[in-house]
């Protein structure tokens, strides 16, 4: 039998997961930042860690459409898990990440049964409620967590047994960026896989998915668990690079802030999570020094504008502009 060439152009589908030039450039920025802002490494590390946290929310909100106001629960669980491990002698950073991610994933999987059953409003309330309970538990269990004083005595071993965490935060920075990159790369593979496509399917039309044979609940539970693991790793990174856990890792403002960053950058595009984090934290850094009230005011204004006029955030605006430019050329 002769092979008949398909009349359907398969190139766009095959090309979709290929890395683009802009992406390579984007990942050179952390390298450039290291040399340009050598005195701000601690802030830059925080950005990488928060970027990973925003990415974890993007997986569940942007790709599967699960709204959560309590995503910080998994961040906090990861942070405390890594802190306690290091405190009691298991200070290897990668081991800490693995265990913290696993513990957060377990909590995510268990809570998925509560979260996934309801409507959006139920989900908001259940996620918020779970996070509040964990916050209060951490606050009360002072023997374990140190309560409001925070968890002291987090003693980290060198990364890979080679790189000590130094006073200037150089190791902390490269470690954070490397972990962010690895997990970003993994997420990128996942969203371009059939599993990732099915998540987009669920977000776009949850009614149709069962009618083409997809087990919607199981898929959502899986991505919720994955998002929890990512958040746990981000929390663990914060603990390991600061060698301290404050109660603030479970606080509501952190949940709200990460949601704002993601919405600002644009949900459902992976890079939106990173760009939103970068813009938000940079603006916060400069504006809140000038005048804290101003910061709140402009943050509020920008958010209202984004949600009303640019639903896909900065990434959405960028894509529209690129299309216009290409269209004219």
């Amino acid at each position: 039998m002769a092979i008949i060439p398909s009349p359907v152009d398969l190139a766009p589908l095959r090309r979709a997961p290929a890395w683009r030039t802009a992406e390579y450039i984007c990942w050179l920025l952390p390298v450039a930042a290291y040399f340009l802002f050598p005195t701000s490494l601690s802030l830059l590390s925080q950005m990488a860690i928060t970027g990973l946290f925003a990415l974890s929310l993007d997986l569940i909100l942007g790709y599967a459409g699960i709204v959560s106001l309590g995503h910080v629960a998994f961040f906090g669980v990861g942070a405390y898990a890594a802190g306690l491990l290091a405190k009691y002698g298991y200070g290897d950073p990668l081991l800490g990440l693995a265990i913290a991610g696993t513990v957060a994933a377990a909590v995510g999987y268990l809570s998925s049964f509560l979260v996934l059953r309801g409507s959006d409003l139920t989900r908001l309330m259940v996620t918020l409620g779970v996070a509040m309970m964990l916050f209060e538990a951490a606050n009360k269990l002072t023997e374990f967590t140190g309560g409001v004083d925070g968890l002291q005595g987090v003693d980290m071993k060198p990364v890979l047994g080679l790189f000590r965490f130094d006073l200037y935060g150089k190791t902390a920075y490269w470690y954070s960026v490397a972990v962010l990159f690895v997990f970003f790369w993994l997420a990128r593979r996942i969203v371009h896989s059939p599993f990732g496509l099915s998540l987009r399917g669920i977000k776009q039309n949850v009614i149709r998915m069962p009618a083409i044979g997809a087990p919607v609940h199981a898929r959502l539970a899986a991505v919720y668990t994955l998002g929890a693991a990512y958040a746990g790793v981000a929390g663990a990174l914060l603990t390991q690079t600061t060698q301290f856990v404050s109660l603030d890792v479970l606080s509501f403002p952190r949940s709200a802030a990460v949601m704002l960053m993601l919405v600002l950058g644009g949900t459902g595009s992976l890079y939106g999570a990173l760009i939103g984090t970068l813009v938000f934290m940079t603006a916060h850094h400069f504006l809140s020094n000038l005048n804290p009230q101003y910061w709140q005011f402009w943050l509020g204004a920008v958010l209202v504008l984004v949600v009303l006029f640019a639903r896909d955030g900065i990434m959405g605006i960028a894509q529209t502009v690129i299309k216009r430019v290409r269209g004219k050329a």
């Binding site: 152009d9 776009q204 009618a211 083409i212």
Partner: protein
Amino acid sequence: MSAALQTRNLCKKFGGFSAARDVTLTIEQGARHALIGPNGAGKTTLVNLLTGFLEPTSGEVFLKGENVTRLAQHQRVKRGLARTFQINSLFADMTVLESMTLAVCERLGFGWHWWRPVGDHAAAVDEAATLLASLRLADVANEKTRNLAYGKQRLIEIALALAAGPQVLLLDEPAAGVPTSESRELFETIARLPREVTIVLIEHDMDLVFRFADRISVLVNGALLTENTPQEIARDKRVKEVYLGEALDG
């Protein structure tokens, strides 16, 4: 041999309102079975009960002899039961090829594959492409679904159901809202489907129904009025009254 699809005393109540009353129905293997009845008769509700989109208040559903009443929708799809929706239910922001590949991936059991890109699953992509070509949708394969003309979207509604590889296909007013010229083409597509696929068709155009069906069931107020061959149904006074009554009401 057991029937393709069977119901036993199927009832569905929405509050105090009965949308399906004691429906006992048999769809034979390979049948071209039409389901007719005035608007609000409960045809879509019946499809929803058959597919598991709705849970019956009482009664049972059998697929190829197996009791599937307690099975979820996706489990019935795996057993060969697919449907289209009366109102388009598509993946608006995917390209046509993406949404077809998504559906084929689910059928081939690739839905959990999380490492290799979609495009590397050649079996799924090729089958999606072949299906699109056979429905003359090859030229719009890389268009976003939402940008297509309504008639084309209607075709994709059917294509998605076909991608599930059904042995039993439920078509809920497949040509609803499509202009006559295009609806003829649509029905030619349906008529070309392999004989071994059992088809249940809900359709208001009686010419089309009589040409297509070898068996017709008439549903009124949630209950089966009668079931027979097209010739007998055409002669049935009660059926005429039902439709005449509706025409007078309207």
